[in-house]
């Protein structure tokens, strides 16, 4: 009986590998997008046209901060904060400066986050967008400082703040200094909150580690994009600890909704409307 069970699993596993291999044959990366969740392949033009959402499973794939802003805010309204800020090397980690310089060159960003003010369907707010293409949007001094300032300015100007999170966690290359950014940003959230102001977080792929364990989990309202990865510990770390494979939907947006840690899952195409509506419902005149 037991043996039969194992046989079935093995057979499936072999089948999966074959399917994967078949799909992987001759795919030019710039012409086709292959969904990391379901393996579905789409023409790149169709994928980009669909706001980078998988047509088969609905996975909302990673965007650059620039793409995110273009998709979310009113055209031409973004006024950036602290555009020139760049990292130092607090623990003198070998190669860190070079790595930063390379990524700045490659992405056109100074670090893993853009912050500023904008309008979303005519609602004025502070916005922060993390970009996983820059060192997996890990949080070091620059991300922490820009976020703290964004919260402080929002508090001072009595504005709502929206944060699109994405991160692999704390930036290890900055040692303990990166860990302290968790405390710094969370304290800035507290002050904004104490002033009675609205903070909305939108959790995007992937939101993990020290970012999940700080500001990303502290919104008054927590939104997640469909199918994205959200968690504290890495999947592999947990699998190594418990010595078994985790189900596919573990640490998905849907898993978090089920366990009570997000308010709603919102598709990318509806995010602008949802944000402006929520901001409007936090003003005194809810009809405007």
């Amino acid at each position: 009986m037991l043996e039969d069970l194992f046989k079935v699993v093995k057979f499936r596993a072999e089948n999966d590998t074959r399917a994967e291999k078949k799909n992987k044959v001759n795919i030019p990366r710039d012409l086709l997008f292959q969904c990391p969740r379901c393996g579905n392949a789409m023409f790149m033009d169709d994928f980009v046209g669909a706001a980078k959402v998988c047509s088969n499973c609905g996975y909302h794939s990673r965007l650059t901060a620039k793409e995110r802003l273009d998709m979310t805010i009113d055209k031409g309204t973004f006024v950036e904060y602290d555009a020139s800020m760049t990292s130092k090397n607090p623990i003198d980690f070998e190669g860190y400066e070079q790595k930063i310089a390379q990524l700045q060159e490659k992405t056109g960003l100074r670090d893993a986050i853009l912050t500023g003010e904008c309008n979303i369907r005519n609602k004025h707010c502070v916005i922060a967008v993390m970009d996983s293409h820059f060192m997996m949007a890990s949080m070091g001094s620059v991300v922490g400082e820009k976020l703290a300032r964004a919260f402080e300015r929002a508090t001072e100007k009595r504005l709502p703040i929206i944060v699109f999170s994405a991160s692999g966690g704390a930036r290890m290359q900055e040692g303990i200094v990166s860990l302290m950014q968790m405390a710094k940003t969370s304290a800035a959230v507290a002050r904004h909150s104490d002033a009675g102001l609205l903070y909305i977080t939108v959790l995007t792929d992937p939101t993990t580690g020290g970012v999940t364990a700080s500001f990303a989990s502290l919104g008054d309202i927590i939104i997640a994009e469909p199918k994205v990865l959200i968690g504290f510990a890495g999947r592999r770390v947990i699998e190594d600890t418990i010595r078994q494979r985790l189900p596919d939907d573990f640490q998905s947006a849907e898993f978090l909704l089920e366990h009570g840690f997000v308010d709603m899952i919102v598709e990318r195409k509806n995010i602008r409307r949802t944000l402006s509506r929520l901001i409007r419902l936090h003003t005194k005149e809810a009809n405007r």
Partner: protein, 268 residues
């Protein structure tokens, strides 16, 4: 003061006779009344808490638990808390705020537990909530790293007015092993990582994270637990005298600024 490299200090804090919070409590306090549970899910044995009488001052104690033997370690999950541990800590901190007692946190953990149940119950949210709430808790908070300060799992008890470290304690964003395996793809370079990561009491003083170092007897705390406890007691009494005098508004401002100023960046 010690000039040992981090890798040798790690050997000291992993010594089987290294005193734990269970050893220190009777040496530090005249009374200790333990409280249990987060009122939401359960009681996590990786974090204990309660009210203590410290030289006549009632204080709330919150501490991570390293076991002294396998049995204690199993019960305390090797000092790796689940979300309910952090939520118990927050409940007791709020209770301290209500009764205007100072909070003293003892940090000693490899990190928050990484497991299915921890994720299901919101490990990230539990830690985040503590960071936010401790940052605005209207009562003095002192945190002391006894041995291991492991990442977010340690920081959840580390948002405070003053942070002190025992001389051989370390506090880091990731374990040296994790650092070596992720950044160098070679876990065997663990020792080298420890010495490069800047995780000792002196490193953290220099980086503006720690405020004081508590001396250990030669060779480490296990050589004279009583003396170590006296050193902790002296530090704690002095720090409390200083911090308890501050008005709440000033206390909260300086706590905010303590973390606000940490970070190294430049602007054009």
């Amino acid at each position: 003061m010690s000039t040992l490299p981090a890798s040798e200090r790690i050997e000291i804090i992993h010594h089987k006779d290294r005193p734990t919070i269970y050893d220190y409590i009777p040496m530090l306090f005249d009374e200790f009344c333990e409280m249990h549970g987060d009122r939401l899910y359960g009681d996590d044995h990786a974090i204990i808490g309660g009210i203590a009488n410290f030289r006549g001052i009632p204080i709330t104690v919150i501490a991570q638990v390293k076991g002294r033997n396998l049995e204690e370690n199993k019960r305390a999950n090797f000092a790796m808390p689940h979300p309910e541990g952090y939520r118990k800590a927050l409940r007791l901190a709020k209770q301290a705020e209500k009764f205007k007692r100072p909070v003293v946190c003892f940090i000693d953990t490899p990190g928050a537990f990484c497991g299915v149940a921890a994720e299901e119950r919101g490990q990230g949210e539990a830690i985040a909530r503590n960071l936010l709430e401790f940052s605005r808790l209207k009562t003095p908070i002192i945190s002391i790293v006894l041995g291991e300060g492991g990442s977010g799992g340690a920081l959840a008890l580390g948002v405070c007015d003053e942070l002190a470290m025992l001389e051989n304690a370390v506090y880091s964003v990731i374990s040296p092993r994790g650092f070596a395996s992720i950044l160098w793809k070679d876990a065997s370079r663990e020792k080298e990582a420890a010495d490069r990561l800047r995780i000792t009491a002196e490193d953290l003083l220099e980086l503006g994270v720690s405020d004081a170092t508590i001396e250990e007897p030669a060779g480490g705390a296990h050589n004279n637990p009583q003396q170590t406890a006296e050193n902790i007691s002296e530090y704690l009494y002095g720090a409390l005298q200083k911090i308890m005098k501050k008005e709440v508004a000033i206390l909260l401002d300086s706590r905010y600024n303590k973390f606000r100023k940490i970070g190294q960046f430049e602007e054009a």
